[in-house]
Each structure stands twice: as C-alpha cells, then as structure tokens.
Point group: D2
Chain length 146, copies 4
C-alpha cells in the first residue's frame, strides 16, 4: 500500500493538511506523519475522516504523545533525528507550511530521492514540485509514487 508522508507545522495550515489527509485516504494511501500536533494532527484527522490508516513517528519515548488520530504509533526516542524516518517512510512527501524542521525534512527527503510536493505558500527548494491546492498536491504526490 502506498504511504505518503505529510510534514509541516503552523496552525494556519491545518485546514489544508486535513484536506490533504482526507484526499490521500480516499485514494487508498496510508498517511505518515510525525504524530504530534498542528499539521501532523490535522493530516491524520483528515485521513481518519475518510476511513484511512495513519502512522505517527514520534520523537519521544512514549506512545502517549501521539495525537488521537494515529492508528499506529512508532516511538523512536531519537528526537529531531526521527525526521529522517518520517520522510524516508513515505513513497512521496507533501509539505504544508512548516518552519525549520520542515526545511530539514525536505532536505532529508531529497537526499534520499523521495519526491517532495510543497503546497504553496511554502519553502522554495529546487528539486521539489509545487502545488497550489490540496487536491493538486495529492495528485502530484500520488503520480510521483506510481
């Protein structure tokens, strides 16, 4: 089953992240996130609304930090180094908003050759694709997995 990682942060991007999660689940993709709040929670919430499956790859040492929409919690205990696992576990990656942690994840994803779609407005990095709507982001990501 296709796995797509949704990364990012910023409460102003939650509505887009939720829509992306919903659309990915509707297309049968498992949604992978970092398992915490804001964009991560919204993407997982959207996926669950559409009956999908969610994986949360957590930085700490306890399952309890996962948001309530995570089906399968992976407890890494390695802090920010878990960003590598978040993007490596996606057949493609969609970035929604985000600050420096998201930039690091984009860099790691591209290092590993994972396709990265950035929803506008977002980080401008050569080698990524850009989408202007959640639907387009999902389309580009799933095309890149094919």
């Amino acid at each position: 089953m296709v796995q797509v990682s949704v990364i990012g942060s910023g409460s102003e991007h939650e509505q887009n992240a939720e829509e992306i999660g919903r659309l990915l689940a509707g297309r049968g993709a498992t949604v992978v996130t970092g398992g915490l709040g804001e964009v991560m929670a919204a993407a997982a919430r959207g996926a669950k609304q559409a009956g999908g499956t969610t994986i949360g790859i957590l930085p700490g040492e306890s399952r309890s930090e996962a948001n309530e929409w995570i089906d399968h919690a992976v407890v890494t205990g390695i802090g920010h180094a878990r960003n590598l696992a978040v993007v490596a576990s996606g057949d493609a990656v969609i970035a929604v908003g985000g600050r420096y942690g998201t930039l690091a994840e984009i860099g790691l994803a591209l290092t590993l050759g994972r396709p990265v779609v950035v929803l506008e407005p977002g980080w401008q990095v050569d080698g990524t694709q850009h989408a202007t709507t959640p639907a387009q982001a999902v389309e580009l990501a799933l095309d890149a997995c094919a």
Copy 2:
C-alpha cells in the same frame, strides 16, 4: 490498540515466532518487528495468518527490505539504532531466540521500562519474565500491557 514488539533471530526459532504472531493477532494486538527476516518475518507471517496488523521498523533507507508480511513499513535509515524504536513502540516486548542485537534490544526495553518476556531458551536477564511456550509468552506480555 495494543502493540507488542517481537524481537529475536535464528531460523530455529521461526516456528515459535510464527505462533506468537498468530496468537497476538488473535488477541487483537498489533505486531511490531524490525521488519527483516527469520524471527521478524515469522512473527509477521503468523500475525497475517490470523488477520492481524503488522508494523516493520527497518534499519535501512528503503521499504523494499521489508518482508512480505509487513503492512506498514517504517524506514528509519539509522541502522542498529532502530532497535530502540522497535522496543519503544511495543507496550510489551517478547524475545524469541536472538543474538547480540536481541540482547541490546532487551537492555533498551528495560531502560525504557517496557515489560519484556523471554521465551525459553533465551537470554537470561534480571528484570525480564520467562515463558516456556508461545501461548504463555503472549499471555504474560498482554497481562503486562493491561
């Protein structure tokens, strides 16, 4: 949903691991493993035979190294350091056979306070519980999660 990590190695232990996977899935627990061969593959295979769900936490940078019974592949890219994530992601841990990597995982699990059940014959470590059959191992592990 309860998650139980099954760790270990050694082809002579595969039958026991498969039985443990089957019993865990029958009891509704998700089976977490390191996603590769031998004990890891057998536990996942057993879980799938019983209609369960499996997570494989891989050491490398590609999903392709996962065995065929893994539903959800987590690609960590961190080599042996992924052992921490394997045991941390279990509400309890069952060890089946195994060499030094398994010993390291037992040590990490106990460091994090995860209950550890060792199926005999196996590593003798203070702080673990011992089981003589797959059924007893599953019983002890699920009791420890409760």
Copy 3:
C-alpha cells in the same frame, strides 16, 4: 573550547573550506565535520595545517571511513541522521556549498537554535547570516559563539 561545525559539499568549494578550517584553528576553535570527503576533508585539513583539533562525526559503523585529518572519530552508525549530531555539536555552524544534505543540516541547526553562517554562494534560508569571504564567515561564526 569553542566548537564550530563546518558543513557542505562540492569539490569546487574545497579551497574555501580549507581556508575556513585554517582560520578557525588559528582562532583556537575545534573544527567539527561529518568526517568524510570534499568540504569536510578540506576543513579538517585546513585546521590541521594551523595546528588545530578536528572531530569527525561519521555516518557509518567504522572509523576507517574518516578522512586523514580527523583527530577524533565519532562512529555513529546512523547514516544521514548523524547530520543532527554534526550541527548540534557546533556552537555555531558554517555552511560551504552543499546540496540537500547541507540544506537538511541548516534546517536542523536552526531548529536547535544554533547560529548558522552561509558562505556565498550558498543556500538562501531566512535566519542564517551570510558571508562573502572565508574570513568573514569565521568572524561571524565566532562572534555568534561569544
């Protein structure tokens, strides 16, 4: 003793990296790198020319992959996740050239609040300082440590 991490890649940037290593060592700073080739090797080589001390934080499982100018090899075994350790171990970070791995390191450094100086031409990321010469890069980095 102050530790400054020098990150980056690209053989065309080696001369600048070597000059930065030399200047850092001349100012008494320990030079931290990822321990491999190109910019990492050049920075360490420069530091040793000036009688400095070098630390190489390696991705693999063997000291043998360190370049010959590394005094102290840290063998992490965690692949690209060692990028976090490279930047976290610097009181400041200087980026010289570099591709996606360097971008990831800049993102991780900024996530942790480490000051980052980018030698032009290089990645354009808000929150970094920019230098046009090796001497200015070293000056800005050491000022940021103070």
Copy 4:
C-alpha cells in the same frame, strides 16, 4: 590514536572507572564515554588527571550536560540511541558496573564486532572478556585494539 570507550554506571564503581581512565590515558588512548555522570564522569576525570584526551557523546541537545572533564563534546540529540555511537567509537569497550543501558551497549558493541572487556563484578555475557582489576581491564582492551 586508539580510542577506548568506557561504559557503565553506579557511584560505587567510580573509583574503578577513574583508575581505568587514568591508565588508558597513560597508555596514550583517548577515552570515549557517554559524557554524563558517575562512571562516565569518573573515567573522564581519571583520563584528565593523566593528561589524556576525552570525548563525551551526549544524549541531549546541549553541550552543557557534559561533565567537566570532557574535552570534546558530541551533542547527538538522539537519547538512548546515542549508546550505539558510544560503543561504535571505541576500538575496544570497557564496562564498569552498569545497569540496563550498559547491557544494551554491550549488546550493540558485540553486534558491531567491538571487543568488550567487563570489569568484575559486571554483566555476564558470552563473547566478552572479563577482568578482575582496572589494570587488567585496560591491558585486555588495549591488546584487543592491537
């Protein structure tokens, strides 16, 4: 230069760890530890008393958690997963006391093929060598590096 990792915990073992650090430094070996307290601090203190060099590989995100006898602090940010780097960075490993974290490190060291010397009383693990005095532990460890 030879690097020897000293692992363990327990305040009752500090005197032995300090003696081991002193002897290693006297023989020209760099002492690698996890950089925190008890055995880790004692080994580094001993090494500095003998004019040696010390590396501390820290679990957190800040140099400030290093004990005062650490010359070179490596800030990994990966929690217990840094145990892998501690043992991988030693050409040999000496265990002094220790609880589950030390057991995990012994398992990881043996997984990577690093020679492990356990100072009695300590963990009993097949594949390790045992020493009854600090001097013997250092002798066995340095012999194993040769």
